[in-house]
Symmetry: C2
């Protein structure tokens, strides 16, 4: 069967022997069983595995209806969330539309993301963008108590009440939170906000295809049915544990082998700037799933050819600690034909009449060979087309690859205990009630 998305491993050939991938089949089998029989660590967080089939169809319809309403009555849609409640929606929107979406959009609202830092400048800028615009807010938080989004929500709710009044504010706040419990759910019920669910069995970094991601994505005018259909196709494609027929699992194997061979950093590369935020989504997915117990590949990213003129020297000839994973988009939907210059000042007339995508592809081919020659292997993921269906397929590809890869690595891919450590310190230093004991000890360390 022809797969919509393929993994090309030929550019790791000089670095990994063919039998090495085959040798991981038993580990893959074990990981596959743990995942599908829900017997592995983190098995309470496997809702994403069958989500493309089992998702709440009624909620999805409501998301589309609400998105239409927002498109009609809103100029600026502010999405409040951090981590998994931020990256998925932004990555999908920027990939399917553009990193310049807010400069270019015409028939859909501007979509901006708030509550993902503690920067006064960032928050003040969001408030400045509100001036003179019809604003709606989507606050996304399972508990409602995460510091960054909670502060932003305070500010933006205030802004709405002051500018449109309490009644209209209620119609302009959309809440994505726990289905039944939590302070945000309580508030939403009391105020009558339209609410959507963060499922219990899906962690933040796996939540892009739930209401967490889908509402902002739909507001930006992207095709959420296409996303879900692509993910459903991937769910079927990657059901076979035999790595000969499962590129998703082969990707999980190859990256583990490269790590065991001393490649500490996986550099995700794309030749299209619209992929940049997808790399950020992927970094959270893999970094948070695998970076634990002193283990894991460090996920980094670059856009080529842009960064061939900055990081290219290192990749070609620096410390041999990297491998690349290139995501190649076939048809981006854009065409640009290189013009002829009668004077040929730049000496590029040999390219006149050629589409820019042709040059971009030759840049990839030239780069992947040069990097192999320099000692940097590449995995290549080929995506035939930039559209919602293929992106949904790809999202599921990475999610499942991450789960299998984490089990092969020997970690629980579904927890993130280390994320709490800085928060505990921060709360103590901020004087949060209940953290008094730690405070003095921390302050002493800071002032020594």
């Amino acid at each position: 069967m022809q797969q919509p998305i393929t993994l090309d491993t030929r550019y790791i050939d000089g670095f990994v022997r063919a039998h090495e991938i085959a040798a991981l089949q038993p580990q893959v089998d074990a990981a596959h069983t743990m995942l599908h029989q829900k017997t592995g660590p983190g098995h309470d967080f496997l809702g994403w595995l069958t989500l493309p089939r089992d998702y709440d169809k009624e909620e999805c319809l409501r998301i589309k209806t609400v998105a239409k309403r927002i498109q009609a009555d809103t100029d600026l849609f502010i999405v409040i969330g951090i981590g998994g409640s931020y990256l998925g929606a932004r990555a999908v929107t920027e990939f399917l539309h553009s990193p310049n979406y807010n400069l270019l959009c015409k028939d859909t609202p501007r979509v901006v993301f708030a509550g993902n830092s503690i920067s006064a400048q960032a928050l003040n800028e969001i408030l400045a963008l509100c001036e003179g615009r019809r604003v709606s807010v989507n606050v996304i938080s399972k508990s409602g108590t995460t510091t960054e989004p909670a502060i932003a929500f305070r500010a933006l709710r205030d802004h709405l009440v002051k500018t449109v009044g309490a009644e209209e504010t209620r119609r302009r706040i959309y809440v994505t939170t726990d289905r039944v419990k939590g302070t945000l759910k309580g508030l939403a019920d009391r105020e009558g906000y339209e609410t959507f669910a963060v499922p219990d069995d899906i962690g933040g970094r796996f939540s892009v295809l739930t209401a967490v991601g889908l509402l902002p994505i739909a507001v930006a005018g992207c095709d959420i049915d296409g996303l879900m259909a692509g993910a459903a196709a991937a769910m079927e494609s990657f059901d076979n544990p035999d790595i000969h027929f499962n590129d998703c699992y082969r990707y999980a194997c190859a990256r583990n082998i490269l790590l065991r061979r001393g490649r500490a950093v996986e550099l995700m590369v794309s030749y299209e700037p619209c992929w940049a935020m997808m790399s950020e989504w992927w970094k959270q997915l893999f970094g948070e799933s695998e970076g634990k117990d002193g283990k894991g590949l460090y996920p980094a990213s670059a856009i080529f050819s842009t960064d061939l003129h900055s990081l290219g020297q290192f990749i070609q000839d620096g410390s041999r600690i990297l491998f690349e994973t290139a995501v190649l988009i076939g048809d981006t939907g854009d065409t640009f034909i290189i013009g002829n210059d009668p004077e040929d000042i730049d000496g590029l007339n040999f390219l006149a009449g050629k589409p820019l995508s042709y040059v971009n592809n030759k840049a990839f081919e030239g780069t992947v060979l040069a990097h192999a020659d320099g000692g940097t292997p590449s995995l290549v993921i080929r995506v035939p087309r930039r559209d919602a269906w293929h992106l949904g397929y790809l999202l599921y590809f990475f999610e499942k690859a991450c789960a299998i890869s984490g089990y092969i690595l020997g970690v629980n891919p579904f927890d993130q205990p280390g994320v709490e450590d800085y928060k505990r310190n921060m709360f103590a230093l901020l004087g949060k009630p209940g953290y008094e004991a730690e405070r003095a000890a921390l302050e002493k360390r800071l002032n020594d």
Copy 2:
């Protein structure tokens, strides 16, 4: 003497012993001598070292005059360049203004960057942004033959001629190129474009304080005199080779020690989103200067607290291959006071009345201690204020630290031979005249 910018090494204390830094003094002395007596490798590219004193004052005046003219007659200023002809101007503008500069700017033109990728989408979007706007173009290329900017320049010159005619096009193109030679210089002379110089003795990644960076920075309304004055102050501050009195050199030492101790990745961290592109500038500076001969730290970056919710787990508890370099901005010029919520739904009323910057600082303190406890050391660079003067100081700090660090590492920090490898392959695959011999062999490798 009180230094405007300080390096705080206390959070590497558990990882590096005090005598280790002192032990590098002889290597620092040697590097300092090589640099200042111009006896080291790459000594033909040391123009940046005394640039803050020796820069062309007349050209700088002209830049300010021209920038005022552009501000008056231009809505969209398109900067064509790649690598060092792109990152510096964008990084400075986004740091001093905002990553959202183009959404927020009112009295100055939008500034967009073209010719830094081979993406048809990216180029088409620039052309779409031109519609209905008064456009000027600054093309930055030493030779005029670099593929990416040359293609973009063809497209935008065409666009200008078609929309405003040949005569007005000549007034709307600004060229930054070699002072005397090269095809772009020839074209500029024939057409009568206003031109600025790329100095012979300053490589791309060290060129932000030449016309390469200064013209776009001035058009965006930033204070280029402040930048130069800050750099001049840094030039004086970091003239003493004694590492007890030279934080710039101590930074160079500390990162070399951490590398030798097995930390392969330096993660530049900031708590302000406006720093994001400065990290990209820093990545090119250090990655391209040190990533050679199989050596060098891999430069990566993150924005906190944003990425504490994505990469935080890895940094806290994943493979112990990282150290952090945090750039802390004291006064960003923005204030936001956290409001009170009578219901205290999110439990954050203990923060009511506090400025957000206070919380951000406690997030830093909590994080740096948590990461040290988890096994990730941090260097901390403290910048009292976000303004042009301090940024100029900081740019010079990093440039000189990079030179010293590269000499300590044992490389030529001023060349980039590896950048040519992919280009040679690409030209051969594109059928560029003169590359016929390589083409067949490369195609065979791709198709095997």
